[in-house]
Every structure is written in C-alpha cells, then in structure tokens.
Amino acid sequence: MTTYNPKTVTDQSGSHDPVKVKVRHLTKAYDELLVLNDISFDIRKGELLCIVGPTGCGKTTFLNCLTGFAPLTSGEILIDNEPGNLFRHNIGFVFQEPSTIPWLKVWDNVAFGLKIKKLPPPEVISRVEKMLDTVGLRRFVDYYPRELSASLEQRVALAREFAVKPDLLLMDEPYGQMDIKLRYYLEDEVRRIQMEEGTTVAFVTHNIEEAVYLADRILVLSQKPSTINEEVAIDLPRPRRFDAPEFVAIRNHVTEAIKWW
C-alpha cells in the first residue's frame, strides 16, 4: 500500500487565487465552553474545502459563525474582504437537520430562496424547473415535504440552495442520511455545479471518503476546543477512484489525523 506524505500547505495568503473567505483568530465560546480556539485560514475563490473533525468538534459552529447566526467571541471573518452580511452576500446553506418548509409544496420550497431574493417570476420559474430536473424531483412537485422520505427531503433542500446560485455554498453534512449510490450522484452534482458557477464551497462532513473524493483541500479540526490539526491539499485527478491506492492512502492519513477513538 502506498503511504501518503502530506505536503505542508504554506500558501496562506493565496498568492494567485483571490480569497473568498478570510478567517482570522476566530474564537467562539458558549458561556464557559470554548468551542473554537484561535482558528485562522482562508477559503479561496472557487475552491471546494472540506472540513472534517471528531464528533462535536465545532464544525457546525464554524458555519454558524460564518453566517452570523452565532456571534463571534473574538477574531474576525471576512467575506470578499468585508464582514459577512446576509443581505449583500449571496450565500447558500444546506443544513444537516431537515430544513424543508413543511407548509410549502416541493415546488414552492425550491423557489423559496429565489422569492426572498425577489427575483423576477419568469427567472424563478426557469431556475426552479431546471433544479427539479437536476436533483430528480420532477415527479414530486406537488408533494409536501413530510410526505417524502428523509433522503428525498434533503434533495429538496439541496435544490433550494443550488437554485439561488450562491457564490458561497455552505454544506453541513448534507448527505448524512443518504446511501452510497445517491451520495455518489449528489457529490458529483455538487462538484459540477461548483465548476459551472465558480461557486466557493465549504463542505462539513463526517465521512472521510466523501471528503477525499470531493475536496480540493481538507481542513482537519481537533477535538474541542478545536484548532486546525492539519490542512491536506488533494490534487488527485478527477474523476477520483475511491479504490485507487493514492486515494486510500490519503483517506487513511486523514482518518489517522482525526484520531478520535
């Protein structure tokens, strides 16, 4: 088996890639509990960054800080070199929990973000229709989310976030409830949308195989209070094969880096 020698990532400033998100000395504590401890890193424009770490290490907290749902204790997060502002930045967020809106049918759920952004109706219709085909929800437009299975429901949430064509897409364990085959398909789909639209993606996951398959770079967080254990740049060619020795080597390496049991 090939052993993997991690390259040290020194390129903090991002000399040629403009930076989308700049995180500096981010610290977040809930009362006495320190969750994130002085974290600094960049997310480059058009990059797909996976964030992995042990259970309860504050991955979700990080995303919540990024959107401003949770106020920072100290440090700063800049999006496009200014403090994050949900009214100005076009952000998409796929939540881990079921996040479809129970009183709207599938079609209206997918259109929800577009309508909030007050896009012209013809544009809303065309984008929703396109998204429905992309995630394979065409047959279910007239269903309410609670009539669907968990994995279908999550696809509705995905479609809703993809539809707004965000510059910054945050995904919190989006495929946790799905099985391999569907996950493969949706992983490829995220990748495709990211390439087409030049979206910057921050992808939080527990699944290391998924992280290695998707990421341009993996950020490994440590146990609470979290710091960055390691940054792993992945330059395997695509489409990646999960049984290729290099792939398996990186996967094992990241698993070791998390070392949580």
Partner: protein, 249 residues
C-alpha cells in the same frame, strides 16, 4: 430447514388488497450464531420483515419458524433492537435494561445483577440512574443493545440500529457491536440500508428489492474480522453490491 435456528417459508405480507404486497414469497434460513445482514432501499419492507420475525406482525401467507415451532407472537428467544431506540422515558437506564427480566419473573436482586452486567458490557457504567433523554444517540442505542441482550434471547433482531447516528459514532458502534458479539455469541439479524455497514458487519448479506419486497442477491462475506473499510477486497465487495442496487437508497 433442520440446521436453521430461525427461518421463514414463503412469507407474504400485504396490508391492502389493492396494492402489491409489501413482501412476497420470502424464504430464508438463519444458521445459529450467524451474523446476517439484510440490506435494502428505503421502504422495501425490511422493517415489516423484521417485525414478522419478531412476531409483531403476522404474515398474510407463509410462516416464520423458530427451530421447528411456528412463530405466532413475540417470544423470549427473540430480542429486538429498534431503530428509534424505543427506550421507556420514565425508566432509568437500569430500569430499561431490567424491564424485560421483570416480565420473566426474575427476582429483584438478580434483575439488578444481570442488568448491571450488560450495562457494563456496553460501556455505560456510571449512567445506571440516568434517564434516556439525557443521553446522546449512541448511548441510547447502547441501552437498547443491553436491554435486548439482558433477557437472554437466542436471536437478536436489529432494525437499522445505527441509522440515526452520525458517521463517526456509527463506526464506533459497529466496532463495539462486533466486540460484544464476539464476547456473547448470538444469532444476529441486522437490517440496514447502508452498504458499507452491511459489508463491515455481516457473515452473509442479503440484498432486498422493493415493491414487492423479495430477495435479490445473497453474498457470503469471508473477509476475516477485524475488517478495514479501506481494504481492497472490502471496497470491491462494496462496489459489487452497490452495482446491484438499482434504486436510490
């Protein structure tokens, strides 16, 4: 069907006459101390099948046999671990684990001793007097395992026990389940929709198809324990089974 501990013959279940049956003509035997995994997409009738084996659901046609006896209801020789934990919220961990023993008329001290033994075995010592809703998902399912083990069943039926846990907790629980199983050998029938989990755990994997539910393929898994998720044989087998599933799971 002689050497099978639990078997079913032409099992068919339909709820409404107008719809195709949920299960059609399932015939299957489980050997003693075997770890059998039943793999299938959502809504393929796995849970209904497990309920039939448990005796909670009576088949429309066909029958389930424990050794040579027809199953007509739940029985002490078959324990169940439920997907949604199904712990009694008004009982402590100890009370939950000892619950089934009380029905068997075991004396109070003995109940306590047995329950404590299994609580310790699943690594929950110190939480005996906690109420379930204060525990995390993984811990709840440990209680579920201990409770099923405590009544001393010969066959353990597990209905997607780790389905609601996150990936890392699931890996840990899978490992612990195998350790427990090595220590206290039982026949296990484990239902899941996760291919990786199926290949990791099972001696034999049965893939079901949906509507009507029936057996699609069957694979013996001969990789020795402890298995590695990244072993090439493991990945190949996973891919092979994945290729057989035609639906989004």
């Amino acid at each position: 069907m002689d050497d099978y501990i639990l078997s079913c013959q032409d099992l068919t279940v339909s709820f409404k006459d107008s719809e195709p049956p949920v299960l059609r003509g399932l015939t299957l035997g489980v050997r003693e101390n075997e770890f059998l995994v039943i793999l299938g997409p959502g809504q393929c009738g796995k849970t209904v099948f497990l309920n039939c084996l448990a005796g909670l659901q009576l088949p429309t046609e066909g029958a389930v046999y424990y050794r040579h006896n027809k199953v007509v209801g739940p029985g002490r020789e078959r324990g169940v671990v439920f997907q949604k934990y199904a712990l009694f919220p008004w009982q402590t961990v100890l009370g939950n684990v000892a619950w089934g023993l009380k029905s068997q008329g075991v004396s109070k001290e003995k109940r306590r001793a047995i329950a404590l033994k299994y609580i310790q075995l699943v690594g929950l010592s110190g939480f005996e007097n906690a109420y379930p809703q204060t525990l995390s998902g993984g811990m709840k399912q440990r209680v579920g395992l201990a409770r099923a083990y405590a009544t001393g069943p010969k066959v353990l039926l597990m209905d997607e026990p780790f389905g609601a846990l996150d990936a890392q907790t699931r890996y840990a629980m899978e490992n612990e389940l195998l350790i427990l199983w090595e220590k206290e050998k039982r026949t296990v029938i484990f239902v899941t929709n996760n291919i990786e989990e199926a290949v990791f755990l099972g001696d034999r994997v049965i893939l079901m198809s949906a509507r009507p539910g029936r057996i699609k393929i069957e694979r013996e898994i001969l990789i020795p324990h402890p298995r590695s998720y990244t072993d090439p044989t493991f990945l190949a087998l996973r891919q092979e089974i994945s290729a057989e599933t035609d639906l989004a799971l």
